[in-house]
């Protein structure tokens, strides 16, 4: 009996081994590559065009690769009839020319590796600069896989160059007439008290004074950022299909840029990053709780950190990894986890909003830029505040907290550190706080006059300004090598499970250092140096004895409206080209093929051929505002119109030169 059993056991052992061998054999197929022989000869075939094209047809040979086109820039003449012969060097790509090929939704041109695709003949009858874009998702940087095609003579470019000069001169002629306290013809003294506007004023006031307001607007963004983190960790490794990338770096980013202009720091009103810490510390989600009973350590914020430096440098650091940040879901997910964690902890150790004032990279640039906003939270009548001794807006009342941003709301006259939490609207017993709409740039002159040692704000300006121009070149320019440097040559997207794919090679790291030196060098050194030189010249030309340092710092505030318009231009470009991604992401947050809301959109750029002109126009508006702001600042600092005008004319030269460079990047 027992013998039989043993044999049976052995038999089953043999069977197991057999099965195991079989399994290994079948698994081994995974390790044997299948290589098709015909893939190598494609290059020769590609260049030996077998067709006999008619004489009037030009054949242009293009090689698509991750993530660009070779040649990067193609020039044709107006009226040329062109056939494109395209191959792919690596994976499957697509092909789309702004304004010339049909919408990718109707007809998608696919370039499979190993095949030669012929497109055309296309007759180039509209002059200008157009983008060649990849229309098939081919990897993490696919959205920025672009090349240029110039249809000469590029009249629109030349007319925009002339237009830039003309508007620059016109602005100078305008300030020559000595407009006092005006911005491009509009008085800076005129303000609209939004909460007293008939109709919407009282309604808005009730909403803003409602204690539940902050929570009500914050909660949706908390929910959205929770999804951002989950999607960033487990969703599709390809960025444009992942909620974390599509919603944050397309929708959120663009909305914040427009908000800065139209609604100041409204993002900070709804920001979920420090909210959890704030709720824990206050032990309230909506209501007001006595500060003495807070759950917080209430340590003192170090004085040396009580400025914008940390936030500005963190913003620059983020910019150094921007090609990863905006294309790799896991990097975005991690960033927001870290920001929420730090924001929460710092609120409990160092309440109230020291994190927002000095650490948050978004807070730094939003705060800085919002000084060009038409929106502001201000006292109606400062003299009432002066006389009112109780100062509930600082000390708090049962209706509202004292300003969590450590400001004296009744007296403040700049947007930088006002997070628009509207606590002062609630706490002020005299109903003296309100929202004021004013012309762009109202506060710049007096801010600049005070800026004796505010290098932090000046450098935040330089960083923002240079990056705004630079990013257009990096993300929408033809030079794929710049993107590749910043991308460390990594061709993979990643979520948490595949984060190891982001390990760069040695060459990638070396290239990244080149990129980092280039970005940081331009933003921190080169442009500030140029700006300083111009400031020095304007001091000489104005014949003033103000120190150059002071002039230099003060004039840097004139960049703020310029920055806002350059970044708005970038945001417009992102939205027009990629609008489909964020909308679809709400229906399919993880990029798994869901259709929760019943809609999905395919990538289909919205009139992308208009982008050069829209972008150039926005930069020209920014330039005009910058020139006029310089004048307003100079007038306040140097006293007298004459000196101010002479100083302005020197700085105007720099602002015009940059606008010309920008026009060249987008249209030339």
């Amino acid at each position: 009996m027992s013998r039989v059993n043993i044999i049976r056991k052995q038999m089953s052992g043999i069977k197991k081994i057999c099965l195991f061998v079989l399994l290994m054999l079948s698994l081994s197929v995974f390790f044997l590559p299948v290589i098709n022989a015909d893939e190598s000869s494609i290059e020769d075939e590609w260049l030996n065009d077998p067709h006999n094209h008619p004489d009037d047809i030009r054949v242009i040979y293009i090689k698509a690769y991750q993530f660009g086109f070779d040649p990067e820039i193609i020039e044709v003449n107006k009226g040329d009839r062109v056939i494109f012969r395209i191959i792919s060097e690596d994976v499957t790509h697509g092909f789309f020319i702004d304004g010339y090929t049909p919408s990718p939704v109707d007809q998608k041109i696919v370039i499979e590796p190993g095949k030669i695709i012929e497109i055309g003949p296309i007759t180039f009858d509209k002059p200008g600069k157009f983008k060649i874009r990849c229309s098939v998702t081919c990897g993490p940087l696919h959205p920025f896989m672009v090349g240029d095609i110039k249809v000469n003579p590029n009249f629109t470019y030349y007319s925009y160059l002339v237009g830039t000069l003309f508007v620059g001169m016109l602005t100078l002629v305008y300030v020559r007439r000595g407009p006092e306290n005006k911005m491009l013809g509009i008085s800076l003294e005129k303000e609209i008290d939004l909460l007293r506007v008939r109709g919407i004023g009282p309604i808005l006031k009730r909403i803003l004074q409602w204690r539940g307001f902050h929570f009500a607007v914050l909660w949706p963004s908390l929910l959205i950022f929770a999804v951002v983190i989950v999607a960033g960790f487990v969703g599709n490794p390809v960025g444009n299909k992942n909620f974390s990338i599509a919603v944050v770096w397309i929708l959120w980013f663009a909305l914040v840029e427009f908000m800065i202009l139209l609604a100041g720091r409204t993002w900070c009103t709804v920001c979920p990053l420090p909210a959890i810490g704030e709720w824990i510390a206050r032990r309230r989600l909506c209501g007001v709780h006595n500060v003495r009973k807070w759950f917080a350590l209430k340590l003192k914020w170090p004085k040396r950190l009580n400025n914008m430096w940390l936030g500005a440098l963190l913003f620059l650091t983020m910019s150094l990894i921007i090609p990863w940040l905006v294309t790799r879901p896991v990097v975005s997910g991690l960033l927001f986890v870290v920001l929420i964690a730090v924001g929460t902890i710092l609120y409990i150790t160092h309440p109230p909003r020291n994190f927002c004032r000095s650490v948050c990279p978004a807070g730094a640039y939003i705060g800085h830029d919002s000084n060009a906003s038409i929106y502001s939270v201000r006292a109606r009548d400062k003299s009432i505040c002066d006389k009112h001794k109780a100062k509930e807006c600082i000390r708090g009342s049962p209706e509202g907290y004292g300003c969590p941003w450590k400001l004296y709301p009744g007296g403040h006259d700049e947007n930088t550190y006002c997070g628009q939490c509207y606590e002062c609207l609630k706490s002020c017993p005299l109903d003296n706080m309100t929202v004021k709409i004013r012309m762009i740039g109202k506060d710049l002159a007096h801010m600049a006059a005070k800026a004796k040692n505010k290098f932090d704000e000046a450098w935040m300006g330089f960083i923002r300004f240079t990056l705004g121009v630079f990013y257009i070149l990096v993300f929408f320019g033809p030079y794929s090598w710049i993107r590749d440097w910043g991308n460390m040559g990594v061709n993979f997207g990643a979520n948490l499970a595949s984060i190891g794919l982001l390990t760069p090679g040695v060459e990638g790291v070396v290239n990244w250092f080149k990129w980092a030196i280039m970005v940081a060098g331009v933003a921190l050194v080169a442009y500030p140096a140029v700006f300083y030189t111009f400031s020095w010249f304007s001091k000489k030309v104005a014949k003033t004895d103000q120190p150059t340092k002071h002039i230099f710092l003060a004039f840097s505030y004139a960049l703020i409206p310029y920055i806002v318009f350059i970044w708005a231009a970038f945001a417009v470009a992102i939205l027009l080209v990629f609008w489909a991604y964020p909308i679809t992401a709400f229906s399919d947050p993880f990029g798994w093929g869901w259709n929760l809301l019943g809609f999905k959109f395919k990538w289909d750029p919205f009139i992308p051929q208009s982008l050069p002109y829209v972008l150039a126009s926005l930069s020209i508006i920014g330039m005009a505002l910058a020139i006029n702001s310089t004048y307003n600042i100079a007038r306040k600092m140097l006293g007298g119109h004459d000196k101010a005008f002479r100083a302005t004319s020197v700085m105007a030269l720099l602002h015009i030169l940059v606008a010309i460079a920008f026009v060249w990047v987008v249209a030339g």
Partner: protein, 136 residues
């Protein structure tokens, strides 16, 4: 009657809403309900990622001899292909976001290989999977 301060009432509402946010971590679980292919009988959803990110998911598929099954291959990241010579299936290129469907009835038991036919990554040649046809 319990008297409740209106302030406390709203705090509790807000607290419940805030805690509800944690529920988003379970969103990925919805996959089994949201994707029709995961609910329908005799339907198998295969997601195609580049091999570096896991390749075909799932890569090992079990079907029953004689039973008709529907394979739905979904492109996830870049363009892939799906081909099984032994089973006579070739779906051609599948774009990201696109789904291609094939129905077949396996006649013989055995292990059949399928592979990606479009160069999709440096190790594309390893992107493949197996279909195991089992007897009743």
């Amino acid at each position: 009657m319990i008297y409740m301060n209106r302030g406390i009432f709203w705090e509790i509402v807000a607290l419940v809403l805030t805690i509800a946010v944690i529920g988003t971590v379970s969103l990925p679980l919805l996959d089994n309900y949201v994707m029709p292919e995961k609910r329908e009988p005799n339907t198998i959803l295969i997601r195609a990622y580049i091999q570096e990110s896991g390749g075909f998911d799932p890569g090992v598929i079990r079907v029953k001899k004689g039973e008709t099954v529907k394979l739905v291959v979904e492109g996830m990241d870049v363009v892939h292909g799906f081909k099984s010579e032994a089973l006579g299936i070739d779906l051609g290129p599948i774009e990201p976001g696109e789904k291609k469907v094939v129905e077949f009835t396996p006649k013989e038991e055995g292990v059949y290989m399928f592979e990606c036919t479009v160069v999709c990554s440096p190790i594309h040649h390893y992107m493949r999977g197996i279909i195991i046809v089992e007897g009743e």
